[in-house]
Subunit: 245 residues, 6 copies
Amino acid sequence: MNIQIINPNSSKKITDDIKKAIKKYDINNKNLVFTTALDGPETIESSFDECFSATTVLETIKKNTHKYFDAHIIACFGDPGLDAAREFADVPVIGIAEASMHFASLVATKFTIITTVSRMKTHTENLLYKYGYDRKCSKVRAINCPVLSLVDEFDISRGILEEECVKAIDDDNIGAIILGCAGMAGLSTDLTAKYGIPIIDGVISAIYLSEALINSNITTSKHGDYAFPPEKKYLGKFKNMGTTL
Amino acid sequence: MNIQIINPNSSKKITDDIKKAIKKYDINNKNLVFTTALDGPETIESSFDECFSATTVLETIKKNTHKYFDAHIIACFGDPGLDAAREFADVPVIGIAEASMHFASLVATKFTIITTVSRMKTHTENLLYKYGYDRKCSKVRAINCPVLSLVDEFDISRGILEEECVKAIDDDNIGAIILGCAGMAGLSTDLTAKYGIPIIDGVISAIYLSEALINSNITTSKHGDYAFPPEKKYLGKFKNMGTTL
Amino acid sequence: MNIQIINPNSSKKITDDIKKAIKKYDINNKNLVFTTALDGPETIESSFDECFSATTVLETIKKNTHKYFDAHIIACFGDPGLDAAREFADVPVIGIAEASMHFASLVATKFTIITTVSRMKTHTENLLYKYGYDRKCSKVRAINCPVLSLVDEFDISRGILEEECVKAIDDDNIGAIILGCAGMAGLSTDLTAKYGIPIIDGVISAIYLSEALINSNITTSKHGDYAFPPEKKYLGKFKNMGTTL
Amino acid sequence: MNIQIINPNSSKKITDDIKKAIKKYDINNKNLVFTTALDGPETIESSFDECFSATTVLETIKKNTHKYFDAHIIACFGDPGLDAAREFADVPVIGIAEASMHFASLVATKFTIITTVSRMKTHTENLLYKYGYDRKCSKVRAINCPVLSLVDEFDISRGILEEECVKAIDDDNIGAIILGCAGMAGLSTDLTAKYGIPIIDGVISAIYLSEALINSNITTSKHGDYAFPPEKKYLGKFKNMGTTL
Amino acid sequence: MNIQIINPNSSKKITDDIKKAIKKYDINNKNLVFTTALDGPETIESSFDECFSATTVLETIKKNTHKYFDAHIIACFGDPGLDAAREFADVPVIGIAEASMHFASLVATKFTIITTVSRMKTHTENLLYKYGYDRKCSKVRAINCPVLSLVDEFDISRGILEEECVKAIDDDNIGAIILGCAGMAGLSTDLTAKYGIPIIDGVISAIYLSEALINSNITTSKHGDYAFPPEKKYLGKFKNMGTTL
Amino acid sequence: MNIQIINPNSSKKITDDIKKAIKKYDINNKNLVFTTALDGPETIESSFDECFSATTVLETIKKNTHKYFDAHIIACFGDPGLDAAREFADVPVIGIAEASMHFASLVATKFTIITTVSRMKTHTENLLYKYGYDRKCSKVRAINCPVLSLVDEFDISRGILEEECVKAIDDDNIGAIILGCAGMAGLSTDLTAKYGIPIIDGVISAIYLSEALINSNITTSKHGDYAFPPEKKYLGKFKNMGTTL
């Protein structure tokens, strides 16, 4: 089973973080291929960033069509390019925000999401609605740390994150917490143990959710609006995508 | 990995059907234990039936606490007793309606559910809302066949079901179909191949979704409203549950 | 006019409390028959409790089919077994959560509900949605007193409850308060007088709402999903219900 | 018990119709005072009509403050002036659309409303939302008969109305029907008997619902936004209302 | 281009305030005709006030049908009589609450509304829902100043209003603020400059939004429920409206 | 007043169509600058297309920062890149889907949208929700003509479009129709006249709505999530954007 994990942030440090986080889990039977989306923004903290990272996600999938993947994972909590990737790919595509929300809703009636900077709160609320989890999310909290600080100033950020977890557990009437950034990968196991409440990481969730779909023989529908649109001309810089599109 | 699959219908024919359906999938690494809830209604086609089947689900879990299970699956499309079972059990509990809705939403923007009798349409709509999929479901359709006819008059029921699939594909602006009854288990593979659109079975979905949670080390929260309530006296017939509750 | 008031809690102390509360009202023309559901949990404070109490409610109605009732009232704020009871009975069935929400919405644009333990908050929110009052409820508050403390430690609980009423009046932008537990019956008259705002009790509301339906000649529909389902076999312990079902 | 029934239509024929309809019910213990709102539109079939009828409702209550009423009923399916009347009156005020929706939701999971002209469909949908019943209403149907035709061409209108009832029963997945016009009062008993499904009239519902509130000692909140606003100057034609306002 | 600006409050001081506020904008090409609705309440702070002000708005339009207007603006934040005015008039009619919500949603993902007295909060929430902006409004805040205090005690009120703006900017996760009262007109320019965030006034918004509709040749639909209803008799005081209605 | 009208489709034929359509309106006082987004897909009929067109919209704005614009219009009914463009630009940015929905809601209580291919129906429903108009849209209809057919086979497409308008007017209980594609620009005036109901074009709506914002001195908020994010490194192909970003 080959699963491509695409980091839409162009920062390799975040890719390395994700790799390290996964080592704590048993993934023997899966071949995980990590790809850093080189061309886009270093980190994704706005709609502007998301637009460019969405195209890099699509190009990353395109460039690798000679390899076979059983699923693609978009490892950024904004799930950039998810619907477009489903149109393009023939296999399941899973976003990490989506996967963590699915899992949280299976083990708790209400959950809180902790995101990085406060400007991402509305983005996260939009995703909650998109996936149907707006009524299950008690609160979206922000720790006001930029994504890269999770890597570069890990100890400080982790402290702030843990404080926010405690507030969520005390005040939000919840049963679970979602870590709302790929840069927080690797903390879920420790924090779950420490606080006695499921604290959920999107990357891990997405890997096992992908595997579940693959084993169920359920793949992205090619009937309806996920069908790839009729061949058309791309002028200018995407011309090189022309023949197969 | 031990997974208990509870058929809340007291009909063993339905349990046998489910067993047969699963044979088409690779479940080598999982020990599936099937239990038919003996005391309840033969089939579940009303709120009245669901009340009694919910308690049989709970008693089935209770009676087997000396065995170890990694997850429990409630194999009836009404997901009877799901929240109560999550309070009682320490491991993940998954309903088949819930599981199929999760999977359909990952491979299509809109789906249709085909249920048995028309009186279950409102029940299904309530579940869609509960799990957050009301906006993703284009239509709940009924074939007006009682649950047992799916076993006893399989050929007739299957014909009617296929006609309804065709109507859904033509008219509902959808990308996937959910088979809304455990008694329809086993048809999903053939129908998916025949109609070229994901046609999703809840039991299969629930098995692999349970496995995904188990492997992710994410289990039912015991913080908040899924915590089991403080010990209390059960008078009369549930007295025998008294000591451990 | 005969109205059966079913206390789904198996605690007779709560039944006595309800009886005492009603004495303050003029019920001359109604014959109120109180039934304590003996077999179920002593108090209902979880989904697990609700499952078992729902079946005791149904059995209580079943056992009394030789008597004639014009309506049944389910006197627990979770309204356990309400839909199932409507399928089974030919006369109106009213839950006390439902009745109090109907009445609050007729005298105020927004209301607050005060429940017992915080784990019941999500349950109450689910009921608000079910009955259509989610947008009219400003806040669900919990006093963190178990149901029985309302009987056994009445003075302490009442003090805490009154403090919560004051907070609701000051902070929630509301016009009414609902007492969210049958064990709070009897306080509504005094608290309404003391705080100058409608403070509503579900049991009283349900009695007069039942009478209103009876006098209007409007009874539970037997067309659609409240029709009792076709006769079917109940194996095991409900076998004795077989003939009439 | 004195209940004022205000017909906001200035047509006395409709008031007479309502009086006749009520004769079929036992109202011995209640003194019903009928008032036709003389100044407003003959019938209410638009937002424009509703604006003027709302003020006539308020003036009708104002003119009768020397008499004592235990409740006021607004007997037009648009419930014109309902919130304003609640601010002004000290006793319960009930609209007939509101009352019928409350009652339908107590005896069926889904209902259909049959209104007069199609232009009132959106008005009715707005009321459904306001009262919280938008999710319980399967469909709003219009018979395209003006209100007065229900009086002046009773036989023709009744035939069309019955045809629409049959369509609703066959196609709408419902358990009850609401007659969406005061001019349809009096048909509910016969149609319920004929079609074997609750067919609900708003005036009857409002009378018994008012009585239920009165007996429960629950009256319109004077805390919050139903409190009457501080005295203020009304210039021009409402000057005569000045002293008590 | 002739635009009628109707002040539904009968206070001329508020009309003067609005006139003064507009002077800061370039309206060279538009002829703005100001009308104070003489008969209604001095200020509008309740549903009761709104009922009477709605009819004065309609009568103001009616009295001026001999003049030609390209659009009518209802300059009170409750938008009283808006739907009725659209039925009656052949040209666009815009409410200032509506206009300000449209504009705020075009420049920010979330906004806060600051209203006068707290009893208007629920009214404002109802308008947010009506126009579709309930999900974009982060919070409705009240400064607890009556409308006239904005004119009579301008300096005090302005101070309180600015404090509330600061709280909104700090706590509400917003990008814009709407001034929720015609009496606040004239402050938007200064406050926008002072706080560096769009602070939006409804009257200005309504003037330019009306102009946009006029220039687009888009006017109120006369198909569907904004069509003026068939001629009917108005008894009593509206008789004088009879011939043209 | 300089307004940039960006055609995100790379087809110049569509730009020409839009130009021609605008000639019917008085735009004397505005300098409209048309830009065809050269690099992206010829037409936009999928999420995949939208991803690439979103970045071309952003690059088109970026390339022209040496010119001064008072507003930017995104002239494709999917409004690709709208939120990102608002983050990047200092002046108002308006999408044509957004603008047409705003205008339709000001002149009718309900409207229908007619889109091109059926696969865009879910996209349009998502936009309706995003802007708050989901409850005002009665139906999204598709004519099943690709975008380019509106230019290349104008007469055939127009015939099909008119048939769909007639169906909408007859069946959808609406007061207005929105033409859901920039390629339909130019038909609104004729169709409005022919069918006697507002038939609304997004480009015209967006031009006058932009002007309204500009004249109101209301521009995109730079407080909150439309603030442009902190400077960051763009690797690879967007490097050339580095200095100013």
